[in-house]
Symmetry: C2
Subunit: 390 residues, 2 copies
């Protein structure tokens, strides 16, 4: 066990810090990381983890040896923090707001290969102009829409070669990027495989369209946590992105991408009351600790605001966090089960619907080794801070 | 205009900081504060604002003159930050976890009159014991359940006088507190008036029950933003609590407690793309900036993730933020209206469903004076930090 130590707390086990607080099980995190890395290696593509879930240099350090790996970020604050941490190959995977280009150029001038994203001729013109004014090419990817989820150009859109040409003429065209966001709503292994195939096929088709127009394409980037775990053939793709997989969550378990026992992020809460007349156990972990994310509400099994384990990570059968106010959580029994006897002061862990959203409610993570034990309260090895803001 | 200046940014108007960021309109905030203060004065009760919404000493400073007012907090981190800011009369209105009592006692020893809350004999015994061991009485209120919303004892519960006796014998009994949480689901003015009457009646009945058992009750505390604005008679009540009212939000507007034009918190976002084939305008403000709160989904008018204004706060008609991913927001037109022409780079403000949840996504607030102007971009007067964590 080799956990980077960055302790800013005197707490020594999960019974110690005041609740609620977020916990990362580093054993499960490593296992999740190794699983996807092995897949990427088999598929013959570079893995470019999206650090938007953990937003932690310490979690990212689990992903590579001494040399920082390529990463994807969701904010320039992440890009800057990871650049400070020695990462030099960063993709900022949100369509560029021209107002943010000075920060992009400042990172490029520091020697970071920061790629940006866009999906319009309008943005391409801004980027080309900024690049010329700064005298530095801004490596840029064109976002491709593979499933109508969010942004991007369709591979047959006239704007694709048009934007590509503007970028190429300014020395800025790097490649194409797509994200199968709708794979979060694909509920069978076959649907996930098809989503992965469609994601790959669409990205490659877009790259070929640009190449056919005489525009060189280096990067062909695809990925989402579900499709990254379902892809069988990534011919023509150069890199795979995924973020959520480091922690996983109940949404991913509901999709079958992982098992509940793979969830590496949880929130420690304390029982503060009982309302037997309503069938409630009340805790001090509300939506401020869990987020308002109810991602499993649209799945076959609605997990409320989360499932409940003891401090050692063993599931408390049939207990679900079904309601949340700002600093209160309500636990109820499922399927007519009896409520367990959990006196005031009992500490529990809540497994979240959506790791990205729950993690964002916390300044950082108390880190445990996480090999399953049945008796002793898990020891806190470190506190890992998150990058916040934009 | 007298805004406490606490600027930690060189930004000078709303066109300047990189988006997304939170903005507080101090003119509207003051007006909201004055409105409820005037009501409390008319009703003859002390107003004890709940600072859990803004979590800002600077916002709280708008509530009083030179002498800090009584406040309610949702975390001990808030209690400690407000104690550091000179507040000496603080109620921590979440049922006490015995593990947190050392921090409570530390605040009492600093001279802060910190009241805590509980709703069980079990907790009362913990508090009495901790109080005796520390040699300092811990002022404690018993939470009363007026509407089955969350925690609390019913006024006729045998545990009420039992817990009261344990507290009284240890010198800890301060009073009773209730919160009409179900008033967030009362959709007519008459329902809100009834919720306020029930909240008052239940709290007073609980206080009388304790007094009849020979247990002195000082504080009789009631409140929620809807009932605070609906109450007509608070005889027997000593103080009124409300938090959301400083900013208000679309949930409160949907309940009729305020108008949309009263909303003092918004999030500035930038247009980063267009998907005319789907009827979407894409922005860089997703759920990380707005929260996942969909509080208006259960109201007559679902406002998605929020309504849209220009930088001056003028509503963009029929435009709604209907979808969110981590760093993307999707704006769509309502009722078959045409999408407005908003080029890439256009800045907008999003009015949130739930101010408490949206504010929690940000480190602090860029503050504008907020008198309506039609031309100039509002000047940023200050940056006000939030208290975070627990």
């Amino acid at each position: 066990m080799n956990i980077p130590v960055n302790t800013t707390t005197a707490a020594h086990d999960l019974a110690d810090p005041d609740t609620p607080f977020a916990v990362v099980d580093v054993h499960k995190t490593r296992r999740n990381i190794e699983r996807l890395q092995a897949r990427a290696d088999r598929l013959g593509v570079t893995l470019r983890p999206h650090v938007k879930t953990a937003k932690s240099l310490d979690v990212a350090a689990l992903m590579h040896g001494d040399t920082p790996c390529p990463v994807t970020v969701s904010t320039l604050a992440e890009a800057e923090a990871f650049a400070d941490g020695g990462y030099t190959d960063i993709t900022y995977a949100v369509g560029i707001d021209p107002h943010k280009l000075p920060r992009v150029i400042a990172l490029l001038r520091r020697g970071v290969r920061l790629r940006i994203l866009l999906d319009s001729v309008e943005q391409a013109s801004f980027v080309a102009e900024a690049s010329r004014q700064a005298g530095i090419p801004i490596p840029t990817q064109i976002e491709i829409d593979c499933d109508g989820h969010r942004g991007g150009l369709k591979p047959d859109a006239p704007a694709l070669p048009e934007a590509g040409r503007i970028l190429h003429d300014a020395g800025c065209l790097d490649g194409v990027l797509t994200h199968a966001g709708e794979s979060y709503f694909a509920y069978t292994a076959e649907e996930e495989r098809l989503a992965a195939k469609n994601e790959r096929d669409t990205a490659v088709a877009a790259a070929e369209r640009l190449r056919a127009a005489g525009l060189p394409v280096d990067t062909v980037s695809v990925g989402s946590t579900p499709t990254a775990h379902a892809a069988e053939d990534l011919t023509g793709v150069t890199e795979l992105r995924a973020g959520n997989y480091v922690f996983f969550d109940l949404v991913m378990a509901g999709l079958g991408v992982c098992q509940v026992e793979d969830l590496a992020l949880s929130v420690v809460v304390t029982v503060i009351g009982h309302r037997p007349e309503y069938g409630w156990i009340v805790t001090d972990g509300g939506w401020m600790a869990m987020s308002r994310d109810r991602g499993t509400a649209v799945q076959a099994q609605d997990q409320g605001y989360g499932l409940v384990t003891d401090l050692n990570g063993n599931l408390v059968p049939n207990l679900v966090m079904t309601a949340a106010s700002q600093e209160h959580g309500t636990l109820t029994a499922r399927d007519g089960a009896d409520l367990p006897d959990l006196p005031v002061g009992t500490r529990l862990r809540i497994l979240p619907n959506h790791a990205c959203a729950t993690a964002a409610q916390h300044r950082g993570y108390h880190v445990i080794e996480g090999t399953r034990s049945t008796g002793a309260v898990p020891v806190i090895e470190a506190f890992w801070q998150r990058v916040t803001g934009w």
